[in-house]
Amino acid sequence: MKVSQMVEALSLKVLAGESFLEREVCSGYCCDLLSRVMAKGEKGMAWITVQTHMNVVAVAALVEMACIIIPEGIEVERKVLDKAEEEGVIMLSSHLTAFELAGKLYQMGIAPVCKVVD
């Protein structure tokens, strides 16, 4: 599935990375502890987190996540979005909770682990 299809299906707001929405997403993960995300994170993953600071962008870029989804309409600072844009990280936002987002993504066929080879 492409990020753009996910954005469409869940009515997500695109905060950063608009020009990368054709990127593939195949797995999802929901966690706010960065070491855990570093260990589990993989290319093509949609990552749901309430953390909205710079280091989230760094982690997503380092493991080449498909996108970050911020739940509960939490606001993200401009400088973080600029950094995301610069690093090619897609940041999305939703009014839904992390629990609801994960449930919907799971129903759409997004798996816990994907096997994308680059």
Partner: protein, 146 residues
């Protein structure tokens, strides 16, 4: 340079508490390895280890250096600082053990998984530390012959 890698060394100075530029050194290391044509699974393992080592310098040390060395046979990431040192390395290596301060925890650090993550991804890990003197972390990765 078909068939071979360059032998290179890069040094990054990491400041204590500098969360704003956290991950920049690891990001540069990742770029360098990709440019050298290193296999993507290995790049990923080195990147994770480098990031955790970089974060430990920022969170736990008074500042130090992160180094990348690439030879045709191996990749070595070194993190060296001048303090405060680790009193009990076995304890520090345990998953879940963390002395990260509240400011770091609020950002999602302090899961106590950094050193275990480094060990899991490395082919060999050498860690030396002395309280009052500092910590040296040498992380080795073998480049398998193709």
């Amino acid at each position: 340079m078909a068939g071979g890698y360059y032998s290179i060394e890069q040094v990054f100075h990491i400041k204590a508490g500098d969360f704003a530029s956290a991950g920049e050194a690891s990001s540069q290391i990742k770029k360098t390895l990709k440019q050298l044509g290193i296999d993507s699974t290995l790049v990923r393992r080195v990147t994770i280890a480098a990031y955790e080592a970089e974060m430990n310098l920022i969170i736990h040390s008074i500042g130090g250096e992160l180094k990348l060395k690439v030879t045709p046979q191996s990749i070595i990431v070194t993190a060296e600082d001048k303090g405060p040192g680790i009193p009990d390395i076995d304890l520090a290596m345990q998953e879940g053990y963390s002395t990260a301060p509240e400011i770091a925890r609020e950002l999602g650090f302090g899961a106590g998984m950094g050193l275990p993550n480094i060990k899991r991804n490395a082919d060999r890990l050498n860690i030396q530390s002395k309280v009052g003197e500092g910590t040296l972390l040498e992380i080795y990765f073998d480049i398998k012959a193709r």
